[in-house]
Symmetry: C2
Subunit: 208 residues, 2 copies
DNA sequence: CCTTAACTAAACAAGTGTTGGTAACATGAG
DNA sequence: CTCATGTTACCAACACTTGTTTAGTTAAGG
């Protein structure tokens, strides 16, 4: 029992196929980040165990733990923005565009609680994760701001640009609060998430 | 340099004054929880260092680290609810009551980022912190729900009880999102926090 | 003095990221 | 078929954390 912490019975990869392990590492880290309730506790050795490999073997593919996490986070962030943008593709109106984007955002956050918390929750040590992923929301935020502005304009509600920024910010905080509390406080008797999202959108789009 | 990690030149307390250290421990933990950017990384030894005492000395006053954290968290949560309730004391109308409560909530969250993140952000390991503090928001949430319902009724906007619950939930998520993003994403060019809070309240109180 | 509260020193067992050296092994060359 | 090659991954260790326990020391009060 005290012999080996795992069973490294892994069959060695073929000559040029070293990046098979690399892919497995990325996949394992992605799985952990996505599902684990406290992503900041993810450990190098945990990933190694998941794949069935010795901890040291990771260093052949990534210079350190932060690089692996950062790599996966970037993938996930790109996926989020891509899904948000793709969801709005066939939108027939500005309001539909905004609605699609918000729903895609919330849906992704709900389906990837760990990734979401890591990207927007300031959970990772700053020295581990490159700064680029910190403050990741800004690009996405801008798309929400402009989409909201267009939706409001469509409804005949023209406002100053600075008001647009404020309004977009508030919409974002509304969505963010919804996602994080919904993900984290399962004890609460939550109504349907899509309905709540719709209501948040309606609050911010309609003239008060 | 390698002699002592700190300088335990602390003068020993008198016979019946053992709880002087207890108070200092609580105070140090409170300071750490309140100010630190990642509260889940707070450590027993860190608290000991802060007070200038040996790590083991803590166990005379608290059975384990979780008890100390839990104790302080309970204090802080009580403080939050007390401040929220106190703020609404002289309110001349239901809308004023709600406004005061929300501002007090946001203000406290802004002034105690670490405590706020710990109470509502699911950052502490569940086995360390007693369950009572987890899901702490429920009591507070109910007061927001009822205050919002009264504010809406005051404006002649009567709605079903279930709608009240949904509306209160959404208001809470809005405030929560505002606090957490404002606290965590300093890079963003934020408008005044009080103004934003007012706008959130207005969104939820006024008839769409 | 002697009791006893208040605190400490040292260690424990378990964990962490990371490194240097080394063995296994698929494979292309001879 | 043989065999050196160099990729691939392992082993063992390092230097450090962490929370907690045990046994002991210090000093105040009766």
């Amino acid at each position: 029992m005290e012999k080996s912490e795992t069973e490294p019975l892994r069959r060695r990869n073929a000559r040029g196929q070293g990046q098979l392990l690399r892919d497995q590492l990325i996949e394992a880290m992605a799985r952990l980040l996505s599902t684990v309730e406290r992503p900041e506790t993810i450990t190098l050795r945990q990933v190694a165990r998941e794949v069935g490999v010795a901890p040291a073997s990771i260093y052949g593919h990534f210079p350190n733990l932060g690089a692996l996490i950062g790599h996966v986070l970037r993938l996930r962030y790109d996926e989020l923005t891509q899904q948000v943008n793709a969801s709005a593709e066939g939108a027939g109106s500005a309001v539909a565009d905004l609605t699609a984007r918000c729903h895609a955002y919330v849906k992704w956050g709900h389906e990837h609680p760990g990734d979401y918390a890591t990207l927007f929750g300031n959970r990772m040590p700053t020295d581990l994760i490159p700064l680029s992923t910190h403050g990741a929301g800004e690009k996405l935020l801008e798309s929400v701001v402009s989409s909201l502005a267009r939706a409001r304009a469509e409804q005949g509600w023209h406002i100053a640009e600075q008001q647009s920024w404020r309004a977009g910010l508030l919409l974002w905080t509304g969505l963010h609060g919804l996602v994080t509390l919904y993900n984290g406080h399962g004890a609460i008797d939550w109504p349907d998430l899509d309905d709540l999202t719709d209501e948040v959108i309606r609050l911010h789009v309609n003239r008060p």
